[in-house]
C-alpha cells in the first residue's frame, strides 16, 4: 500500500524540480557579490535544510516506534535517515564545489557551519554499522530508535550552536539585519526548497514501497516454505 500515490508524487516532484531550476537559471538575478557562483546556493542550501529536517523526522518516527512498538515506524525512521544521509552526501559535494569556487579551498576547517554539518553526517553514518551489529530484530529496531531520537535532538541543538558562533566566511543569508534575500531570489529559493523537499518525500515513499514489496516476497516465501536463494540475509528493516 506504500506505492499508493507514488505516480502523481513523482510527476509533481519532477515538475517542481524542472520549474525550480528554470527559476534559478532564467529568473533569479545574478548576485552582486558572488555572481554566477551563487547559483549553487539554490541547490546546496535546500538540500542541507531537507537533510537536517529528514534527520529530525527520523527521530520523530523513532519516538512513534518506541511508543507503539509497531515495526512500521522503525522502517519509516530508517528510510528517513537513509534518504537524509544520501542528501547529506550531495550537501557535502555541492558545498565543497562552492567552497572551492568562492574561497579557493575544497574544505575549510575553521568554519563552524561546514564542520558541524560534517559532524552530523558522520554521526548518522555510524547509524548503519550500529544498527546491523545487532542481530535480534526486536533489539535492533529499539536501539536504532534510541539512536535516532538522541541524534535527532542533537541536530537542532547543533544548528543553534552554529548560529550563535561567530562565522568568519560563511554568509548568514536569512534573518540578517541587512534584510536577507531580495524578493526574486527568495521566491526562487523557496521554489527550490519545495522541489527538493518533494523529492525527499517521493524517494522516501519509493524506498518504502520497494521495502514493502521485498517484505511481501519474503512473507510469501515463508508461507510457501520455499528456500532462500543463495542464503541471502536481510539487512534492512522489513515493511509488511
Amino acid at each position: 500500500m506504500y506505492g499508493k500515490g507514488l505516480k502523481p508524487l513523482s510527476i509533481a516532484s519532477t515538475a517542481a524540480i524542472v520549474a525550480a531550476f528554470s527559476l534559478v537559471f532564467f529568473y533569479a538575478p545574478l548576485d552582486a557579490d558572488q555572481g554566477f557562483i551563487q547559483k549553487i546556493f539554490y541547490l546546496h542550501v535546500p538540500l542541507s535544510i531537507t537533510a537536517l529536517i529528514g534527520f529530525v523526522v527520523g527521530g520523530v518516527f523513532a519516538i512513534a516506534h518506541l511508543r507503539s512498538g509497531d515495526s512500521k515506524w522503525d522502517a519509516y525512521s530508517y528510510v528517513s535517515i537513509h534518504m537524509s544521509v544520501i542528501f547529506g552526501v550531495a550537501v557535502l559535494a555541492t558545498g565543497s564545489i562552492w567552497a572551492k569556487a568562492s574561497w579557493g579551498h575544497w574544505w575549510v576547517w575553521d568554519e563552524p557551519t561546514l564542520v558541524s554539518f560534517l559532524i552530523v553526517f558522520l554521526m548518522y553514518a555510524t547509524y548503519y554499522p550500529f544498527r546491523y551489529a545487532i542481530e535480534d530484530r526486536e533489539r535492533q529496531g529499539r536501539y536504532a530508535s534510541v539512536f535516532a531520537i538522541v541524534a535527532g535532538a542533537f541536530v537542532p541543538l547543533n544548528f543553534m550552536a552554529v548560529r550563535m558562533a561567530q562565522s568568519l566566511v560563511h554568509p548568514r543569508v536569512f534573518a540578517t539585519t541587512n534584510g536577507g534575500l531580495p524578493g526574486s531570489m527568495m521566491l526562487t529559493f523557496l521554489a527550490c526548497l519545495l522541489a527538493i523537499g518533494l523529492l525527499w518525500v517521493t524517494l522516501v515513499k519509493f524506498e518504502l514501497t520497494a521495502k514493502s514489496a521485498s517484505g511481501q516476497v519474503k512473507r510469501l516465501r515463508r508461507a510457501l516454505d520455499a528456500p532462500l536463494p543463495g542464503g541471502r540475509s536481510r539487512v534492512a528493516p522489513e515493511v509488511s
Binding site: F21, F25, F26, Y27, P29, L30, G35, F36, I37, K39, I40, L43, H44, L47, I86, V89, A90, A93, T94, I97, W98, K100, A101, L203, F206, E207, A210, A213, S214, V217, L220, R221, L224, A226, P229
Partner: protein, 72 residues
C-alpha cells in the same frame, strides 16, 4: 515565455559556470545512481517473485495427483 527568456541573464559559462555545472551534475549523478540501485532491487524482487510463482505452481502440480489418489 519568449519575453521571460529574453529577460533572462546570459549564462556565463566561464570559470564560474564550470563549478555551477559541476554542482548540479553531482546532484543529478547521485539521483541517477540511486535510481539505478533501486532498479537493481526491483529486478531482484521480480526474479524472486517469478521463482516463487514457479515453486507454487510445482507444488500445486504435485498436490493435484495426490488428491486424485485419495478420492479414488
Amino acid at each position: 515565455m519568449l519575453s521571460l527568456l529574453a529577460a533572462t541573464p546570459a549564462l556565463p559559462l566561464d570559470e564560474a559556470g564550470k563549478y555551477v555545472a559541476g554542482a548540479y551534475v553531482v546532484f543529478l549523478a547521485l539521483l541517477v545512481v540511486y535510481v539505478a540501485i533501486m532498479a537493481a532491487k526491483l529486478q531482484r524482487i521480480e526474479r524472486d517473485l517469478r521463482e516463487l510463482a514457479s515453486f507454487a505452481e510445482q507444488g500445486a502440480g504435485r498436490a493435484a495427483p495426490e488428491r486424485e489418489e485419495v478420492s479414488a
